[in-house]
């Protein structure tokens, strides 16, 4: 595990998810209020279009309470589960024909322009961020850019290869090696 959301909040989220699935309006509203900025932020970053992003977030929340039974706590917190679904739906959306056409070739540049938002965070969370930032700093620019283009730009690795005029095997190993060293570095950082 690379993230440790505060245990208390994670317990609360798991409970809210269960209550939501049982039809509790207030629990669902609270679940939404606690998680929507993360979900919306990621979806908007990937899709880079407010209208489409809102539609995807709306679909996601429907899925969250309808498929609450698929949440497996051993694989991470509720927010992680939600973001995995949200990311997948976002890339499905932008790879669909309609949006793909609209994105055109300007996509990568436009997408890079979405500014990061300031975030309030706990001390514990800040320590994790410092570890992540330090580990990101150890990647090569090429590795980091390839990972960002794929994850935040929603591109498949062949699309990243085409966009950067780089051979496929090179892009594959850039992303793979980058993610591996990131994971190793964060794990080491957590142990130290």
């Amino acid at each position: 595990m690379t993230t440790h959301p505060s245990r208390v909040q994670d317990d609360e989220l798991a409970l809210l998810l269960t209550q939501s699935a049982a039809g509790d309006h207030r629990a669902f509203a609270r679940l939404y209020d606690l998680t929507s900025a993360r979900v919306y932020g990621l979806v908007l970053r990937v899709i880079n279009d407010r209208g489409h992003a809102e539609e995807v977030v709306q679909e996601c929340y429907l899925k969250f309470w309808q498929h609450a039974d698929r949440y497996d706590r051993s694989r991470g917190g509720v927010v992680n589960w939600m973001l995995t679904i949200a990311h997948r739906r976002s890339v499905d959306r932008i790879r669909s024909e309609e949006v793909h056409r609209r994105r055109g070739t300007e996509y990568a540049n436009a997408n890079a322009a979405v500014p990061p938002a300031p975030v309030e965070e706990s001390v514990e969370r800040r320590d994790e961020r410092i570890t992540l930032r330090r580990c990101l700093g150890r990647l090569t620019d090429l590795q980091r850019n390839s990972i960002e283009m794929s994850y935040f730009g929603g591109m498949t690795y062949p699309e990243v290869a085409a966009q950067t005029s780089t051979p496929l095997p090179t892009i594959k190993s850039r992303i793979r090696d980058g993610l591996r060293s990131l994971r190793d570095c964060v794990k080491t950082g957590e142990r130290s």
């Binding site: 690379t2 939501s20 900025a37 973001l83 794929s150 994850y151 935040f152 498949t156």
Partner: protein, 242 residues
């Protein structure tokens, strides 16, 4: 089964970087693994995903209020469809559309028209509630919002030119109002001085319904002595165009 292929692509799979055919191939291969091996891969996938979620934290962004309303309305209608219709539903709750409920929830006026799926009967309907519900349901209903200064909350106005009427709420105030003060709403028109639209009393049961919009172009909020004033005391806490 190709263990090398699996090991080589698992990180790409974790960040949704594989094209559709390879993504499907990965899922097929994972499903065929022995449980212990599969669990190890799944842990690896979850690790990478959770790492990226932390990375994505920098893009955290407040979602629009209306999206919240739509999602909560979706939830209500989804839950309702999955359950038998409760009997004895109050007339108003039955006629208020999902869209209207969405707007009502968005501006914090849900209580007055009753949450359509609330297990308890909604509060007794009033003329004010009927009027508010009509505005929410109007085909040309528009929501305008403005954050008030001095942490006095957010002003939400739903207006309908067709009905010549608006509904106002202030919610989310971080600073309590002094006992001897009140928030007052003003209708602003280019041609004449602002006209009081009423008091936005925190203790009021519901939203403020404003009749006779006519040439009103904006609403403004001021802090006034209890009971309100005949003309606004500056500075304005906020103003929203409609």
């Amino acid at each position: 089964m190709n263990r090398d292929w699996l090991a080589d692509h698992v990180e790409l799979y974790a960040i949704d970087s594989l094209p559709a055919d390879e993504h499907d191939e990965m899922q097929t291969q994972l499903a065929q693994l022995a449980p212990a091996t599969r669990a190890a891969y799944e842990e690896q996938i979850a690790d990478v995903q959770n790492l990226m979620h932390d990375y994505a934290r920098r893009y955290t962004s407040e979602a629009p209020e209306l999206l919240r309303a739509r999602i909560l309305a979706d939830f209500d209608s989804g839950i309702r469809q999955s359950r038998p219709e409760p009997t004895g539903r109050r007339r108003l709750a039955a006629v208020v559309s999902i869209a209207a409920a969405a707007i009502a929830i968005a501006i914090g006026a849900g209580a007055i028209i009753g949450r359509t799926t609330a297990p308890d009967p909604p509060p007794a309907t009033t003329a004010q509630g009927d009027a508010a519900a009509a505005v929410f349901s109007a085909p040309d209903a528009v929501l305008s919002t403005e954050t008030l200064s001095d942490a006095r909350g957010t002003l939400n106005i739903v207006s309908s030119r067709l009905l010549n009427r608006a509904v106002a709420t202030v919610r989310g105030a971080a600073a309590p109002l002094p006992d001897d003060s009140t928030l007052q709403l003003w209708m602003v028109d280019d041609r004449k001085s602002p006209v009081s639209a009423g008091l936005l009393d925190a203790s009021a049961a519901g939203p403020l319904v404003v009749d006779g919009l006519d040439g009103t172009q904006a609403f403004a909020v001021t802090l006034e002595p209890r009971g309100g004033s005949s003309s606004p005391t500056l500075p304005l806490l906020g103003q929203v165009k409609i």
